[in-house]
């Protein structure tokens, strides 16, 4: 999706070998996409890469230079394969060290739980210098924002909780509106009239998403835009064009 021109833009970077090996199916990108659409931030690109410091650094630098915001998920736990904080610190020349406020949060949690605050757990307080912490109400270990890069956990419950804290701090634009019409005709019959309709409504974006369900070919036609009147006008035209068809 191209940015609308008016709204802030964003990319997501999903980090983890388990995604690329097919072991785990990522759910954070789809969740983020929905939340950003509501917030008026245009998600323009998603990348998924492995637990490789060079690949993380190169991707995050490229995306941070191109978009208003970069959201990452994965690789901020206590184990040896959690290398995101170090890779992102290195990418931006920020020293990474145990930070006292993060350490104190974690120490208090493990004391409450009666669990040893060992060296591995202290790793989760290692934050690049100059970053702002992102609250983790689920399991305490914080994420962080370094410039326009927002680093969050991969575990979906934690990712979602961190995003809830982060999003209200980011300036959004006009929420994306979308309306759709299900048309039970093969896309090949829809295509001609739809192209003409799209030309009549240049202020919105119109997509056609084909399906094949139980022997029926059809497509969901989706109108997207941030101007409610323009979206409504295109939807009315859609109903007029396709609503009366068999």
């Amino acid at each position: 999706m191209k940015g609308s021109g008016a709204n802030p833009t964003a990319a997501m970077l999903v980090i983890g070998d388990e995604i690329l090996s097919g072991r785990t199916r990522d759910s954070n990108a789809h969740y983020l996409a929905g939340r950003l659409a509501q917030a008026g931030i245009d998600l323009c690109e998603v990348r998924m890469i492995g637990d490789d410091a060079g690949a993380i650094g190169a991707a995050v630098r490229a995306l941070a230079g191109r978009y208003s915001h970069v959201f990452t998920s994965g690789g901020i736990g206590p184990t040896h394969d959690d290398i995101t904080a170090d890779a992102i610190g290195a990418a931006f020349g920020a020293r990474v060290a145990v930070r006292e406020d993060a350490r104190a949060l974690l120490a208090a949690r493990y004391e409450r739980m009666g669990v040893e605050f060992n060296e591995a757990r202290q790793r989760m307080a290692r934050i690049p210098e100059g970053a702002a912490l992102i609250d983790n109400p689920v399991s305490t270990a914080p994420g962080f924002s370094l410039g326009n890069v927002h680093v969050m956990a991969g575990v979906p419950e934690v990712f979602r909780a961190m995003l809830d804290g982060l999003l209200p701090r980011l300036a959004g634009g006009a929420a994306a509106l979308s309306e759709s019409l299900r048309v039970e005709l093969p896309e090949g019959d829809i295509a001609g009239p739809l192209a003409a309709l799209a030309a009549r409504h240049a202020g919105v974006s119109i997509g056609s998403y084909p399906f094949f369900e139980g022997g029926t070919y059809g497509a969901n036609i989706v109108v997207r835009g941030s101007d409610a009147q323009a979206v409504a006008a295109a939807l009315a035209d859609l109903h007029e064009t396709f609503g009366a068809l068999p």
Copy 2:
């Protein structure tokens, strides 16, 4: 995931505004990841971008130069927003025109169905010069391979059928083996012994994927590699290290 060094490498490019808007959750990347792991092709990167010719061209050029194979999904249907063939042709300087063998396949299908083979449907026979067709046993309209870029449909049933035809033509390497152990301990307790274990088994990759389920913290520890003996030795060590823990 870094390439193993021995196996061919791959990237996937998922094309479609509907993914980035949060309307549709992509399933093709996860499916491809599993199939490539079996085939011994290392998936190193996934990108998801919108229906934007410039973005498609830039991404496919970057990925085709870096990996042995690039797999794309989406944007090859008959409607105005299906621009993948043209964008990829333009990216590699290949003329895109209706190709006779593809046109004949489609014409025969629509004649059998008693459906008009109109201008929109003829668009699906537009293929970049020099490409090899990828068979579509579900709905006929072919994909294509242009050099190391394999262009397939976004509809999951069609993507999977095309991949079935394509994969046997690509040279694979050693299938990725993986074994895992579920450890019901917080990752903070696992991390120290696991880092030592990973150092003892440098020939395999060891990942820790935390979960929090019904009040229980734990992690699935996954050993991956292409050498069966090395994977088995690391798994045995994992059982010895964590199997006896509460």
